[in-house]
């Protein structure tokens, strides 16, 4: 759909239910791998050996200094588990000539390690298969009994971006299909998957229905040119057999985590912009319409020119303000909707009623001035979804959009982040597009870098192929 297509939507057909986005509050997300693990975990179940009840949290590897409670189970194979892993690998036909099963198991256990943050006390496994996805969960990584249901949040984000009601599969289903295809294609990974399942879990990994229900169907088709639509389209592309077959196993997982991180981070920023625009709509006197709210939304993320000082490019404070005040507005709007509307109330009628409610108008103004120096789990989640974790070393994160520069957080994407976004803008693996297509995707996500900065980033990532006129005609080559 073109950028202006939401203008074609008939505002009068939209109900008040389309005022509040059906998104639960996220929390700080400790590692990129947890996105895939949570999504896979929403559709799979297995009981780890040594688990003490259903509330046992899982981490793959505890690092020195880890003081997590005993309820957090480390899944990294040591001692007997390592021997069992080696034996399971051998039983599946994976052996070394002249090496011991223990060394093979150790090599596997170390090789599947994922990213590691500078101050992190745990290290996740890279979820390249179903069993590797299940060796950690948010309960274990956050060391909390009641973590948010990240899998459900991701499913909601995915459904919000659906172009039509007949979108057949959920995000988790597509993920599992992709992981399945990958293990079928890769004998070593298949053996590792089976060996982890057999050695670290008390029984087979089984499927369960992901908890998406019909929670967001009323939004289907409305949110083109948003992070939700971008997520839906790119997730479908990335989980297709073409892309699964085109990428190395680890690269596929890193790309998938990048798409999920962006969907969550930019999705919640979009949500905050939406409530900000709703507030403006209520407080002004023009004819209310769903279209005018969409049109008046501010960009989710300001991406100023790379040539400016970090202080001029900082997004930390603006993001914090946007998320905190957006959430405050959401709460008061949600409360008002619960008391003043029914399922048949249209969007426009609801806005007109809000306008006539002087008390509500003043509550809105107060909410939009909420102090921003308070703790916000949603902000932490957005910030860490978009930020680069470890910037260097063997477990560096090359897939972040934001990077710390002194006291500031600035848009400065890693080379592989650029590779993911640009490659998924191309017409498939090995394909090409032009820089305007990449920019168009970024705009849908809610970020608009300077064209020259974008071309520089693409060139640095080795993806831009020369053109004498440095404009939208620059050809972009998919990374794989």
């Amino acid at each position: 759909m073109a950028a202006e297509d939401f203008q074609q939507i008939d505002s009068s057909s939209i109900l008040s239910a389309q005022i509040k986005l059906p998104l639960a509050r996220p929390q700080y997300l400790v590692a990129p791998e947890v996105f895939i693990s949570s999504l896979a975990g929403s559709a799979l179940q297995a009981v780890p050996r040594g688990a003490r009840g259903a509330k046992t949290g899982l981490v793959y590897k505890k690092l020195p200094g880890n003081t997590n409670s005993a309820k957090v189970l480390e899944m990294y194979p040591r001692d007997e588990d390592l021997l069992r892993l080696g034996n399971e690998l051998a039983a599946d036909g994976i052996t070394t000539l002249h090496g011991s099963p223990m060394i093979l198991a150790e090599a596997v256990a170390e090789s599947v390690l994922g990213t590691r943050s500078a101050k992190g006390k745990t290290q996740s496994a890279s979820p390249m298969s179903k069993s590797l996805a299940l060796v950690q969960d948010l309960r274990g990584l956050l060391n909390t009994n009641s973590p948010p249901d990240l899998g459900k949040i991701l499913e909601s984000l995915y459904v919000l971006g659906a172009p039509s009601i007949d979108s057949e599969k959920g995000a988790a289903s597509r993920l599992l299909e992709a992981l399945q295809r990958r293990t079928e294609k890769d004998a070593l990974l298949r053996a590792i998957d089976r060996a982890y399942e057999a050695s670290l879990f008390g029984g087979p990994i089984t499927s369960r229905a992901p908890s998406i229900g019909k929670l967001s169907n009323e939004w289907v088709g409305l949110l083109d040119d948003t992070p939700f639509r971008w997520f839906h389209e790119k997730w479908n592309a990335l989980t297709s057999k073409e892309w699964v077959d085109a990428l190395p196993a680890r690269v596929w997982v890193d790309w998938a985590a990048t798409v999920l991180r962006l969907a969550l981070g930019m999705g919640y920023l979009w949500e905050a912009s939406w409530y900000e625009a709703l507030k403006k709509e209520v407080l002004q006197d023009t004819d209310p319409s769903w279209r005018s709210v969409r049109s008046s939304m501010s960009p989710a993320l300001s991406w100023n020119a790379a040539s400016l000082q970090p202080s001029m490019r900082d997004v930390h404070s603006p993001m914090r303000r946007k998320i905190i005040r957006g959430y405050a507005l959401q709460k008061v709007i949600d409360d008002w909707l619960g008391e003043n509307t029914n399922p048949e109330t249209t969007f426009e009628t609801a806005i007109q009623k809000m306008r006539r409610d002087e008390t509500f108008r003043s509550i809105l103004v107060t909410a939009s001035n909420t102090p921003t120096n308070v703790k916000s789990n949603a902000f932490e989640a957005v910030k860490y979804s978009l930020s680069t974790r470890e910037a260097s070393g063997p477990f560096a994160d090359y897939y972040g959009l934001l990077r710390k520069r002194g006291n500031y957080l600035v848009p400065e994407p890693g080379t592989e982040w650029v590779a993911v976004v640009a490659s998924l803008a191309c017409d498939g693996p090995g394909g090409k597009c032009d820089v305007s297509s990449v920019l168009s995707d970024l705009v849908a996500l809610g970020a608009r870098p300077e064209m020259t900065d974008l071309i520089d980033l693409l060139e640095q990532a080795g993806l831009a192929r020369g053109s004498a006129d440095a404009d939208q005609g620059v050809i972009v080559q998919s990374a794989f």
């Binding site: 060394i103 890279s126 680890r250 690269v251 090359y398 060139e459 640095q460 080795g462 020369g466 004498a468």
Partner: protein
């Protein structure tokens, strides 16, 4: 075809003169017959002779002499022709009104152009500075949109026209002769980035023609329409200017409209416009393409699959890197002949390839293009500069400038020194080599706009960025070195020296002192800053070989002993008398050198002394290297041009190093050690030495490298056995990175950040499922490694 010889010019002018005199005497004559007669004598085509006759009219018009109205003046005149006519100007009669001037011509008559002085005359100081001030019009910056066609034709520039990019001249000639002779519509597309001379060429086509309707004054417009007999010529002068009503697909609509009306079309199109057009075509809900959609798609990619099975087609098409031609068909009926010039493909610093366009046997279009070739860097000293567009422009500009030695302050004036230096062919050649090297390193071609920017910098430094043209006289007067003290004189000369061409083209004024000049936003410095010779001064004496060192004479100039203490004197004495350093060194440089020596003799703090040595060392380094055409990283640039020349074969020294880069051994000292990459790491860095933890790895078998060429791009194809693993753009950055490999150890260069992601992806390509070889899995721990056996398939 080559430029016209003296004999051909003589016959041409004789013929023209005969017709002109007949016209003046009222005696009937036959232009076509005269053309045929001339064809028999000089082996040139009818259209070529016709075009050249128009050039004669242009020269006469500029000299305010009568000309034949039937040959409308066409600019872009061969310098030799202009000079030849000037030499015979008395034969053309006194200055008077044009003969046979018609109403249209009178209406569109250009005001008398500003006349550059003849080169052979001595120029007075005021006139010289007036000439120099005109350079401000051509400093880099430029316009956002293409200028109006009438403004270009009505206000001839003070400076000569640049030669057209390859194919443009022939294509405009094809267009003009075709529309005169045939009713079949002709569509001419000039495709390329801004500043490539598209609108200038288009203006030449419509020069003197009456507009069907006059657009509003003031603004540049997207489209202009001109009368042409029963038809019209539609000129899409700047396709980047949007239509108010519908932004997307505007070019396709322009084409459709021209096609439906049976009009001729000239369109100047930026590549970005084509991208937008393609997006519009693809989002169109129409089942079949119309003529405009087919043509815009074809312009973007002539192999686009969507072109198949359309009613509208391009048939009998010919494609080259920089040109294309074909026939627009509606079913079986030909609707228009098409010619396309991609104006940004050929470097202005390479030999301009020859083009011939004529009718095909079936009445269509026949296009013959010489192959575009990149000259190996080491072969550039043998290049015939007259075949290089940039050299021709510089030559013509310099022919207009002629400062006298005595009265322009040449001993302290860097601008005079620049002009003097550039009149020397060797210096000009050296500078052109530097410009070309900048293009190769930057991976982009300079447009005419950037070439003019570079030339202006070569003549007046960065002054156009800092002062207005009106302030030039005051600036030079205020900055003339005083005689107060030796130190003050050196400081003043040092400041002026930043305007010297060997400093200015690299942006040396902003040099931080470590030889790494800041590039800033100036497009010329962005291209030339990276090849500043001070970034890579290679010890040795220059012998023109690919790997030659060159900087030792400069170093020796500061360490040797001379009676005067002059580094410049020592440097000049240490190089052969034929060295271009002698040609580039002017009175200004000798004054600067004397000021340096005197300032040192007067005494300075050790810090200032070191600073003066450092600055002057870099000055002489640039002076020597630029004169000899030695850019930074010359040996790597030579390797890149050699790789391009060899086309399918990667030069052996490069290939060996690329292999070390792409498939390094675990122990680089042991060529038999394994080449390993991690199987599941986020980045695919080769594994070196002992592994602290156990790890899974994939061993690589031997690889073969071949290359292929697309335009100026080289693609490296990586083969394992017969299986193609991946392709990578073998650009300068990768060549430089590869050439930094020593004893099988990868080096680190300023290009490492740019090449690392690509190299990793190339290695990672071996990890995708269909290219995985289960026999190559290994387990590592410490220095040991074991092969992994997989038997679960």
């Amino acid at each position: 075809m080559a430029d016209w010889s003296d004999e051909e010019l003589r016959l041409l002018v004789d013929s023209y003169l005969m017709m002109l005199q007949s016209e003046q005497a009222g005696i009937p004559y036959n232009k076509a017959e005269e053309n045929r007669r001339l064809q028999l004598r000089i082996q040139r085509s009818r259209s070529s002779i016709e075009f050249k006759h128009c050039n004669v009219s242009a020269v006469l018009a500029n000299l305010n002499r009568p000309y034949i109205s039937g040959y409308k003046p066409r600019p872009h005149v061969q310098l030799a022709l202009r000079r030849y006519i000037e030499s015979r100007i008395t034969e053309f009669g006194a200055s008077e009104a044009t003969l046979g001037q018609d109403a249209t011509h009178g209406q569109g008559q250009a005001p008398a152009p500003i006349q550059p002085p003849a080169a052979s005359h001595t120029v007075h100081p005021e006139a010289f500075w007036d000439q120099i001030a005109h350079l401000w019009d051509r400093s880099t910056g430029g316009r956002d949109v293409a200028s109006k066609p009438e403004s270009q034709s009505a206000s001839p520039d003070y400076w000569p026209k640049a030669p057209r990019p390859a194919g443009v001249e022939e294509a405009t000639e094809w267009f003009l002769t075709g529309i005169s002779e045939s009713r079949m519509p002709r569509f001419l597309f000039l495709v390329g980035g801004p500043g490539a001379g598209k609108s200038d060429a288009a203006a030449e086509i419509v020069q003197g023609l009456a507009q069907v309707r006059t657009p509003a004054e003031g603004l540049a417009h997207r489209t202009y329409v001109y009368e042409w007999g029963e038809k019209q010529i539609v000129l899409v002068n700047d396709a980047t200017i949007s239509e108010k009503t519908a932004k997307q697909g505007a070019l396709a609509r322009d084409i459709n409209e021209a096609q439906r009306s049976g009009n001729h079309l000239v369109a100047c199109v930026n590549r970005g416009v084509l991208v937008e057009e393609i997006a519009a075509v693809r989002s169109s809900s129409q089942a079949g393409y119309q003529a405009g959609q087919v043509l815009t798609t074809w312009l973007h990619d002539h192999q686009d699959e969507s072109l198949a099975n359309q009613d509208w087609t391009i048939k009998n098409s010919t494609h080259h890197d920089y040109m294309a031609a074909g026939e627009l068909h509606d079913g079986t009926a030909v609707r228009a002949l098409i010619c396309v010039v991609f104006t940004d493909v050929c470097s202005l610093f390479e030999v301009k390839p020859k083009v011939e366009i004529g009718p095909s046997a079936e009445g269509g279009i026949s296009l013959h293009c010489a192959e575009y070739r990149i000259t190996p860097m080491s072969a550039r000293p043998q290049l015939d500069l007259s075949l290089i567009p940039a050299a021709e422009l510089i030559s013509e500009v310099l022919s207009l400038l002629n400062p006298t030695e005595s009265d322009l302050g040449s001993d302290w004036n860097p601008i005079v020194a620049n002009v003097q230096a550039l009149t020397d062919l060797d210096v000009r050649r050296g500078l052109l080599d530097i410009f070309r090297a900048g293009e190769i390193v930057a991976g982009k071609r300079m447009t005419y706009r950037e070439l003019w920017g570079a030339l202006v910098r070569s003549l007046v430094g960065d002054l156009p960025d800092r002062i207005t043209r009106g302030e030039l006289g005051d600036y030079m007067a205020q900055n003339k070195p005083s005689q107060n003290s030796e130190l003050q004189r050196f400081v003043a000369m040092k400041n002026l020296a930043e305007l010297r061409l060997t400093q200015a083209v690299y942006g040396a004024r902003n040099d931080s002192g470590d030889g790494m000049a800041l590039r800033g936003d100036n497009p010329v410095i962005q291209v030339l800053g990276p090849v500043d010779p001070t970034r890579d001064a290679v010890p040795g004496f220059f012998d023109q070989s690919d790997s030659s060192g060159w900087s030792s004479p400069v170093v020796a100039a500061f360490t040797g002993q001379s009676e005067s203490g002059s580094p410049l004197a020592l440097l000049l004495a240490s190089v052969p008398s034929t060295d271009a350093l002698h040609s580039i060194t002017k009175a200004f440089d000798r004054s600067l050198d004397a000021a340096f020596v005197a300032a040192l003799a007067q005494g300075m703090t050790s810090q200032k002394r070191a600073s003066a040595y450092s600055w002057y060392g870099r000055y002489l380094t640039r002076l020597y290297a630029t004169a000899n055409g030695i850019p930074a990283f010359r040996s790597d640039i030579c390797m890149w041009t050699n790789a391009w020349t060899l086309s399918k074969t990667v030069p052996t020294p490069l290939k060996n190093r690329l292999k070390s880069l792409l498939r390094p051994n675990r122990d680089p000292r042991d060529g038999d050690s394994s080449a390993l990459i991690p199987v599941f790491d986020s980045r695919v860095m080769p594994i070196h030495g002992a592994s602290s933890t156990a790890k899974l790895a994939l061993a690589s078998t031997d690889i073969e490298l071949v290359s292929k060429i697309e335009g100026e791009l080289i693609f490296l194809v990586l083969l394992e056995g017969t299986i193609e693993i991946a392709q990578i753009n073998l650009d300068f950055a990768l060549v430089r990175e590869a050439m930094s490999v020593g004893s099988n150890y990868a080096g680190v260069t300023e290009q490492t950040d740019r090449t690392a992601p690509r190299l990793e992806r190339l290695r990672a390509a071996r990890l995708i499922p269909k290219k995985l070889d289960d026999k190559n899995y290994m387990v590592l721990k410490g220095a040991s490694e074991w092969q992994l056996k997989i038997s679960n398939k």
